[in-house]
Symmetry: C2
Subunit: 239 residues, 2 copies
Amino acid sequence: MVDQQPTDQIERADRILDAAKELLLRWGYRRATIDEIARRAGVGKGTVYLHWRSREQLFFAVGAREAVAMLGEVVTAMRHDPQEIALHRYMRRFFLEAMSRPVLRAIFTRDAEVLDRFLSSPARRPLQSAKLLASREYLGVLADDGLLRARLRPEDLDYTLPAVMFGFFGIDPLLAPEVALPLVDKADQLADTLRHAFEPAKPPPPARFATAAPRVIAVFDRHVDDYRRATYGTATEKR
Amino acid sequence: MVDQQPTDQIERADRILDAAKELLLRWGYRRATIDEIARRAGVGKGTVYLHWRSREQLFFAVGAREAVAMLGEVVTAMRHDPQEIALHRYMRRFFLEAMSRPVLRAIFTRDAEVLDRFLSSPARRPLQSAKLLASREYLGVLADDGLLRARLRPEDLDYTLPAVMFGFFGIDPLLAPEVALPLVDKADQLADTLRHAFEPAKPPPPARFATAAPRVIAVFDRHVDDYRRATYGTATEKR
DNA sequence: TGATGACCAGATTAGCGCTTTGGTCATCAG
DNA sequence: CTGATGACCAAAGCGCTAATCTGGTCATCA
């Protein structure tokens, strides 16, 4: 921990992030101005720039904070039941969590109404990266412990897994309304698809999950830290 | 066959469609004007409207003609080797064919540069419909002949299959350049994914494909007819 | 010393003629 | 008489300018 931030700084950052999130969801990225965000957070505009380098970074932080919350749920579930580390279980939860959080849903469904030009902003990329979805380290642990299909190398998933996930996140507006499914059913379909496509045909013994779980959890804990730093960490950084 | 069109009418329609396709690919939907299309096809503007009700319908016909060509290849392959009717083989070919034909590639990758506001035109929908992708009838035949995974009903695929396909068609611009794959490798990944996700774990005996092939081919022949009619058929229809 | 908001340049929007274009139909050629 | 045409029209699109807004800075202040 190099530069732990004082609590009141974190609190102020949270107030600003709350205001930014609120305005983002109500008015969309374009109309959520720094002036209005600062006003609602009860701080001066300059103060916002004491926390984040730019408007883009501020909104990235909004997403990063949501990612922290989501991954927190994921890790909690994994601690409670090691089988949750299975790719299809993780992705099922990821899908449900992401779709239930308006900010993350906007990001993962690429909602142009909400995100507007933030969609094509480089600052958004880390929020949709392979790291957030399923990092190499995570997939490496699964592969090492026989939790992926035989002859499936982790790098095969670099292309294929994002393709499938992107499909499930984005397909809705393209389907006729009569094909609509409850969210949970979509998540189940996704889980089924991933399990058959990428996991061993016969379910691995529970012991194998127990073995792998600590390492998986360590990986995710690290990711959570990364995103938490990205949320608050720019304030004291040098330019 | 109610109103078979004279050959010279078909030829003229093809000339117009050629010009429309050329301009669509070179200039994009927005700038491909009816005037210029008519000029290049060597006909008066009014003549275009003797074939299609509107500009949108004309461009739909451009896509429908491509679909006919693509499905023609598919059917030919199926006649040559009954195993081609397998979902993963069909979709592999579909993906490769669609990605190799500029018009279809623009449609399936939702290329905004080329399609512009044709993207949100209702006339485009039948070109991306479940029918073109994998009709209920086709999936029904597969299910009846044991070519789908046990306990997988065709209607389960209504949502899931388009989701996966859409993902593979659309993921490219979202991935880091270093993850880029040759087209054929993407098609192979897609085929692998679909086979494991939706087909029986042990490959069905060849005889089963031979049995099912004629019915599958009949289904596709019907779809080809539908799209062919959609390509040329509006000329003599009443308003 | 940390917070602020007046300030500025550059980007965005609104207003407004001018041009382009999808679609029609009176006219004409064969 | 039939099928093809292009002049024509309303409406949408475009380019231009002036006026407004907003991200980001920094001198000033509590």
